[in-house]
């Protein structure tokens, strides 16, 4: 936790430095007539101060806290692999939405997501994914007229 905390606040500090540098490049105006960069400059200082504070705080955490880390057994260990897989699926959906279109992209996404959440019977997985795709297509595209990209399905419908 201490290391990740350090890394996170260090990362935010780096972002804060970049943010403040960019703010200082913007027209500042004066206190009477603040320019576009005036308020971001103040926000940048606040971000720098708080992220630096968090970094120092993380550095000051006693090493004893690390020693007292609870032992996690196999049954309760978090299954990080599932989270990584879901993150990959979300990225995949983002990349495939425009070329393949919503119906195919979401169907593939659902197939994989149901599987990631631990269901094993492929027949049911396929039926569930297809069912949800049809329901979402009718609800959002047909009924609510959300202009989701149709991709290859749109070409077929044309």
């Amino acid at each position: 936790m201490r290391k990740t905390d350090l890394a996170f606040s260090g990362f935010v500090l780096l972002v804060a430095i970049g943010y403040e540098a960019m703010a200082l490049w913007m027209p500042q105006g004066s206190l009477k007539f603040p320019g576009p960069g005036y308020y971001p400059k103040l926000v940048g200082i606040f971000l720098l101060a708080t992220s630096f504070g968090c970094l120092i705080q993380a550095l000051l955490v006693r090493r004893s806290a690390r020693a007292a880390k609870p032992v996690v057994d196999g049954a309760t260990r978090p299954m990080v692999g599932k989270t990584v897989a879901l993150f990959g699926l979300l990225l995949g959906y983002g990349f495939l939405l425009t070329p393949l279109g919503f119906p195919i992209a979401i169907c593939l996404f659902l197939l994989a997501a149901i599987r990631v959440f631990g269901y094993r019977r492929w027949t049911i997985i396929i039926l569930l994914a297809l069912g949800l795709t049809v329901v979402s297509y009718v609800t959002f595209i047909t009924w609510l007229k959300v202009p989701l990209p149709l991709g290859v399905v749109g070409d077929l419908l044309d």
């Binding site: 996170f8 009477k32 993150f87 949800l132 609510l144 959300v146």
Partner: protein, 501 residues
């Protein structure tokens, strides 16, 4: 129109079949998400926001108010029957409610929670009816310095009250403020932090941020936890009626909880959660039965009343000032904004149908919740058995479609995924997302009012302390933020002085 006349007018708006239907839908959805752990009212409202494009704004507001109130009702069901709080605001109910269930008094606990919620809802809605118009009249005198101070103090209090580490909360607030500066600046049209991406010119919408930080991150967290089999305490309908002694012990806790909840709701921060904690500790202190910790009915009645009343209280700053003090209220405000309506002091006079209609519907919604929640408690409690492999993909589907439909833009999908990962990391590192989201919402308004204040005062920063409303707000804010650490430091010092050398 006076408050009573307004409320009567509101009832005439609220009882239209369409508004009743939306109120009912909201109440049912709210109850269900209140029961399901994880997906809270904020995430649900954020992902349903896209649906309200096609609605009348009054209907949208009515549905969302129903969701918020319903979530408070639903959360108590699983707390009492399963020892699982469906909602953060129901965590305290577990302490006494589940112990009552183990003693065979689950029915009484559920009935008291439902009746308490109804009484609290009624009191808070009446208080809202009278307080919001008064505050709105006062708010007409607000200028840019007052708006800047309200937002600043609101954020400070939010950072203080979210619990956990103050420095971390302040850093989250700073990130939110920084994200709020992305896009085209409104005075000179200057592009800031857009990296030549035209899509970023309109700034970062808070909805992808809220959906990512609260919805996607919740799914990512749930994915890595082993699924648990839940065993449900059965309740029969005839067991729902508490004894006269239980009613007697619940009455005053409900009333106290209602007032604690309403006034806590006026304060920025996770008001329903704080209200339940304040109410529980108040009841525990006042208890003379010695039942606390063993299943005290006052420990269910007070907090359950408090969390519902806090919802009514949280509507006051939104309706009267146009400033949301919680992320959930920011989503409710978005319902109005997408229909071109700006909430604020003139909302009550400009849109009386909407304002009074929503208030009256809250009352009707509370009544609906009371009527259908008790008989259907068994049905609702069984919802928690829905397998994750069905529930979570549906949540993701709604998030992915909902976020796209806000601006019909793929950028929002990417932003939501990005915020989802950020939210996951933040949860792991014990950072609270709420200050970030609220700062993102309030940031542009703060900048605008800061710049206007400086132009009005010719660059005199003392404008934020010399104007009476600003000064009063700053003093109140500083007291709330600084009083707890000072008091605890003094206590420690006193204990240190008193202890023998």
């Amino acid at each position: 129109m006076d408050a009573f006349g307004g409320l009567m007018h509101g009832f005439s708006v609220a009882v239209s079949p369409m508004n009743l239907l939306f109120g009912f839908l909201g109440a049912v959805i709210g109850t269900i998400i209140g029961i399901l752990p994880g997906l809270g009212p904020l995430g649900t409202m954020a992902l349903l926001l896209s649906l309200t494009y096609g609605f009348d704004p009054t209907a949208g507001m009515i549905m969302f108010a129903g969701i918020y109130f319903g979530a408070m009702y639903g959360g108590s069901t699983t707390s009492i029957l399963l020892n699982i709080p469906g909602e953060a605001a129901s965590v305290v109910t577990v302490l006494e409610g589940y112990k009552m269930a183990k003693r065979g008094r689950a029915g009484a606990a559920l009935a008291v929670a439902a009746v308490g919620s109804f009484i609290a809802g009624t009191i808070s809605i009446l208080a809202l009816s009278f307080m919001a118009p008064t505050l709105a009249v006062a708010a007409l005198k607000f200028g840019p310095p007052e708006y800047f101070t309200v937002a600043l103090v609101g954020l400070m209090i939010m950072a203080r009250l979210t619990g956990g580490n103050l420095l971390k909360a302040l850093m989250m607030m700073a990130i939110g403020l920084a994200l709020g500066t992305v896009g085209m600046e409104t005075v000179a049209g200057y592009m800031r932090y857009t990296f030549r991406q035209p899509m970023l010119a309109q700034g970062i919408d808070f909805l992808p941020a809220a959906m990512g930080l609260f919805g996607i991150s919740e799914v990512l967290m749930t994915a890595e936890e082993p699924e648990e089999n839940v065993s449900l305490q059965q309740v029969r309908f005839w067991e729902l009626w508490p004894t006269s002694e239980e009613w007697r012990r619940s009455f005053w806790p409900m009333i106290r909880g209602s007032f604690i909840g309403f006034f806590t709701g006026l304060i920025p921060g996770p008001s329903p959660v704080i209200a339940t904690m304040v109410s529980y500790s108040a009841e525990r202190r006042l208890d003379k039965t010695g039942e606390f910790g063993k299943g005290a009915i006052a420990g269910v009645a007070g907090p359950e009343a408090a969390n519902n009343a806090a919802v009514g209280g949280a509507f006051v700053p939104l309706m009267a000032l146009g400033i949301p003090f919680t992320p959930a209220m920011a989503v409710i405000m978005a319902v109005l904004l997408i229909h071109g309506i700006s909430p604020g002091p003139t909302l009550i006079s400009d849109k009386p149908d909407l304002f009074w209609g929503v208030i009256a519907s809250m009352y009707i919604g509370n009544f609906m919740l009371l009527i259908f929640n008790l008989p259907l408690v068994g049905v609702f409690a069984n919802i928690i058995k829905t397998p994750l492999y069905m529930l979570m993909p549906i949540v993701l589907l709604l998030c992915l479609v909902g976020v796209y439909s806000i601006n019909n833009a793929l950028l929002d999908v990417w932003l939501m995924i990005g915020f989802g990962v950020l939210g996951y990391a933040m949860r792991k590192l014990k950072y609270d997302s709420a200050p970030l989201v609220l700062a993102l919402v309030l940031g542009p308004m703060m900048e605008r009012s800061f710049r206007e204040s400086m132009m009005i005062s010719r660059g005199d920063l003392s404008v934020f302390v010399t104007r009476p409303i600003c000064a009063a707000l700053l003093i109140a804010g500083l007291l709330i933020v600084l009083a707890p650490p000072i008091i605890s430091a003094l206590r420690r010092k006193n204990v240190g002085d008193a202890s023998p050398a």
